[in-house]
Symmetry: C3
Subunit: 347 residues, 3 copies
Amino acid sequence: MKTNPGRFFEDYRLGETIRHATPRTVTTGDVALYTALYGPRFAVQSSDAFARALGLPQSPLDDLLTFHVVFGKTVPDISLNAVANLGYAEGGFRRPVYPGETLSTVSEVIGLKESSNRQTGVVYVRSVGSDANGETVLSYCRWVLVRKRDPQAQIGEEHVPNLAKVVDPNDLAGALPPLDVSAYDSDLAGSPHRFGDYAKGERIDHVDGMTVEEAEHQIATRLFQNTAKVHFDNHAAKDTRFGRRLIYGGHVISLARALSFNGLANAFALAGINAGRHVAPLFAGDTVYAWSEVLDTADIGRADVGLLRLRTVATKNQPCGAYPDRQGEGYDPAVILDLDYWAFMPK
Amino acid sequence: MKTNPGRFFEDYRLGETIRHATPRTVTTGDVALYTALYGPRFAVQSSDAFARALGLPQSPLDDLLTFHVVFGKTVPDISLNAVANLGYAEGGFRRPVYPGETLSTVSEVIGLKESSNRQTGVVYVRSVGSDANGETVLSYCRWVLVRKRDPQAQIGEEHVPNLAKVVDPNDLAGALPPLDVSAYDSDLAGSPHRFGDYAKGERIDHVDGMTVEEAEHQIATRLFQNTAKVHFDNHAAKDTRFGRRLIYGGHVISLARALSFNGLANAFALAGINAGRHVAPLFAGDTVYAWSEVLDTADIGRADVGLLRLRTVATKNQPCGAYPDRQGEGYDPAVILDLDYWAFMPK
Amino acid sequence: MKTNPGRFFEDYRLGETIRHATPRTVTTGDVALYTALYGPRFAVQSSDAFARALGLPQSPLDDLLTFHVVFGKTVPDISLNAVANLGYAEGGFRRPVYPGETLSTVSEVIGLKESSNRQTGVVYVRSVGSDANGETVLSYCRWVLVRKRDPQAQIGEEHVPNLAKVVDPNDLAGALPPLDVSAYDSDLAGSPHRFGDYAKGERIDHVDGMTVEEAEHQIATRLFQNTAKVHFDNHAAKDTRFGRRLIYGGHVISLARALSFNGLANAFALAGINAGRHVAPLFAGDTVYAWSEVLDTADIGRADVGLLRLRTVATKNQPCGAYPDRQGEGYDPAVILDLDYWAFMPK
């Protein structure tokens, strides 16, 4: 067969390395689309002049654009037959990525665990995004529940990896070059609040809401060359339990991050992803809101920036003034995303 | 509070200067999106080769893209709690803007007038868009009706500025460098009609119609980093008098301008904005049409170009063959925009 | 009249040459939008590094982006009053086009044939897209059924051109510079299947489906500066036989081509268009699927690449596992496109 039917659970081998198609040169065209699709306003990524004043060569990409491009490549090999995207861990951005760079992705299968009903299994991969020289720009683990082609198929070696609950912030300190934060203009950045102004336990309602249209998430998801059919094929979706297209979970992450500008305007770069869970699906017509909690602050031995450990929760069709959260064994029914990450903030 | 709730009327002081976030480097990515969202076909902005033949270094941005980027920055500080955008005056484009330039905006509060019911007030600002060197590329005045947080709040000094009804065309003559119009190719530009072919009083029906989708105006408005929630939050909009999202008024201006190509193909650059009124709101699903009247022609002492004073009227769901216009105290119910501006046209 | 009402059948003269507005510099912004709108994943067009390894200076545009930009310019002069776009022939891509190049289009009227009822006539044109130096990058013939303004109008010389059924593959061999295919990385390209792996008669179901939204096809069609009002004006469309906007036929071609990656991942460049027929209209909300047949293979005397003659059939709302095709005098009712073309594939 010349077409890719996607891999099933029994097709993976522990320790196997998968080189993904298609390498992608990211450009200012991608940046413009990212801005148009999510509305980010972080000054470092928006203004070359602002970035240069800090000592960067130009505006880097929004880190989540890098993430989505790196992630998108894994879909045809990892999650085409996935039932669910279960989680993320050990995500680390190694350096800013700039327009003109070419990204490609390799994944290693680091865990396999068949489900007790033998219909599915969990595949754990560590995916590494690299530049044209093969240098890592981003790596992260994710695990997905994947169908078996044949429930009777025997599975080889199984293993559940022991992933860190939190990325050590000291391992992330080098992800940004030294910056001249004396040139960081708070008016232009949109907020006077710096690293020292945030305290562990603080919660911020990001106030604004963003309604999502079918065209928007499809345009975004294709931009990332993410081919998961559940996002695009409404004819097939009619016969699923949702009866409609599902929105790519990464679309929610980017919306939540852009909304978080209102309250976290100076948290201009992501450093690491500790954990992430797509709690419930989002559909076109829904409106996304978000709130964040400061889980921790880390002084990583740099005079220019520190790291905030943030937990950003996104909801649908419910503003976040009441901080909808975990509830009993699960979540408030409005919650759709629970993301735990490290972000740089100037001192 | 770390989030921006937006200013209320009593938060402004006469003479105050507000430096807006977020500076923005405009790119060919933005240009492509602008083309895709509005469909402009002016040759100077579309073709580097055409622009170079005239003596420009490359294609400049559509002037309205510049306008929207400069305008968008003012929204979080000026119009987040606005009831209505009332008008524009004294708009002047100072020079073409090119991809790669970084724009930022500063506004001065030039007028304040509390409403008689003390619930709201009119804020007048002069907003100045500048390049990375601080040189002005565009300035304009606008006034908006803004809610008071507390109707009882006392207001300081009030003042209603005396704004020019029309920008003096001689003040706009320098907004374009000298051009070699002998190289202006009418076939490629799409029309043989030059400055001398238009006469005061002439009216032109621009014929074509453009239906607007929710995704389109949201993508455009985010591209401009305009954060007014009425354009994006359909969950909140359900409880408003319109019951749905409002389309950014600037979206209508850009659609009308792009439609005006059919009849004004050589009016390739804007010079000034005399007045503008968003007569009625536009909603997704509506179809926009436009017609223009030549209010005046100005020979500004240049051998290459002259200025046309144009009034472009946009309607929704009504073609403009009958030139729907002012009617009694108000307007034909189909009219949504009445814009009075100066545009350059080759001789 | 200063507006363009479009030409009617009696306005064309055999042998006439029409220089179309508006020249267009294509950029990485256009490329990003093309990716976002269709989701192509061909590695040569996606990655500068991949293209350079083969010996190209950078990633060229997707050939269909070039096609749409060249085609779009012809619409105001050729098909504004068209009833139907009847066919394509003798299409040839002469060389890859790169971001930064400026394209313009000239058409020659090579045929005219009045319909027997005298209400309409068929106009045949050869359209030539050129770069800023006037060198051809693409030429193709198409014929359209155009209304007469006045059914009684007399028609001058008529002629039905004798167009080739198939472009000679040897005439297309020079459309790509010599490539170092030893550097062609099959993993990154997404498929191990090369020229020698495809055989005449082979059929491939491309599996995936893509649902189209109004915003998407409008954004695409405006990007190409295609002004055909049937794609944009829903107010006017309400009174047509379809009662709604029609999607640009080229949108279907690009979707089918992007879907064909799944099975033809290494058919990375188009060389020629033999024939094309828009069998039925597509509307927003429909889902597009596609399948292809290898009509022929041509070894064109190059050690690096060969040509596959492919026929790609697109359907709406029907997956292509059963290869829906011609049926009796017509087609399976699900078929919307039947395109016959040559594509390069590495050996």
